[in-house]
Point group: C2
């Protein structure tokens, strides 16, 4: 039972809440400490500085955003549908998952001059992740023609926007994953 490690995790949880509420620059180390029932000194005992807390959370966020699309041989439609379904399920059941969406979105619009953070964000150009599956779907003639990047933007943007709404108003009803898929499959009418 590493008591110190528990405190650290707790401080990170609180930090995420405050960061979502007030943004990076508006989040004071004092408030994080106070809300966690600790002193400023203690916070700086566990984290060498404020940036370091932020960086740690961004790392978690990037990892969480990388939803592995099991393109392993599966049909592009099925694997994408399953991925979207997974995300929606997590949004319904796990509030901190949605929070991370909001946090990461905020991170991407916040100018923080930290080399390491910028590198992390580039490594996780989350939107483009979907491009290979979409290309494969187009090759097979299952997905509609058009700029594959634009198709990525459509489906990923939708997920992002829907997640934001869900966090803001938790009882928001989520659309069906199939509806989103209809944006990218080839029309038959």
């Amino acid at each position: 039972m590493d008591k110190g490690d528990e405190r650290k995790k707790q401080l990170l949880r609180v930090a995420l809440d405050v960061l979502i509420e007030k943004g990076y620059y508006g989040t004071s180390t004092r408030e994080i400490a106070r809300r966690a029932g600790a002193s400023s000194g203690l916070l700086f005992h566990y984290f060498s500085n404020k940036d370091c807390i932020y960086l740690e959370l961004v790392k978690v966020g990037v990892a969480e955003m990388k939803m592995d699309i099991e393109t392993a041989g599966n049909a592009p439609y099925d694997s994408l549908l399953q991925t979207v379904k997974n995300i929606f399920e997590q949004l319904e059941s796990n509030p901190s998952f949605g929070k991370m969406f909001v946090f990461m979105d905020q991170v991407q619009h916040t100018a923080v001059k930290e080399k390491e953070i910028e590198a992390l964000l580039e490594s996780a150009d989350i939107c483009r992740q979907w491009e290979p599956v979409i290309l494969e779907g187009q090759r097979r003639g299952e997905f509609r023609e058009g700029n594959p990047h634009a198709l990525c933007v459509a489906v990923f943007g939708a997920i992002q926007g829907i997640a934001q709404e869900k966090v803001r108003i938790p009882d928001t009803p989520l659309p069906k994953a199939e509806w989103l898929m209809d944006m990218i499959v080839k029309r038959t009418k």
Copy 2:
């Protein structure tokens, strides 16, 4: 040529940029003034306090978000399609339009204890705006069945998320408006 009014507008423009970059709490009145080539004193000559600048921008944002869907007798599909097309055209041609999207999204996740701001945000539950047209489309059998609120969330969330991506990476290719419509029209296959 009201010189003072021009300054005020300029200060508001700069304030929007800084607010998007750093969030409400991280935006200092000094920085707004400095970036606008003015002194702190001048800023407080035009705005009685920081909240007042924020409020003014939120007002503009709320107004800009209320895209009037001309449901006037038009078929729901056509009027919705036209609305989405308009939004995408503005996103391509007018960068400040996209910025407002990002700003308003940030506003909705930022806890600022200002009665007036909360009231404004409620008055502009932007997502639900679309519900009447969607209901009419369902009544006519043109739109798919399902929770109309969820259909709103799908199409509005998508627009929101796409706008965010466009602001973050300006050369992002936008999806076609018709693709978004495919989320809500009744499938024929």
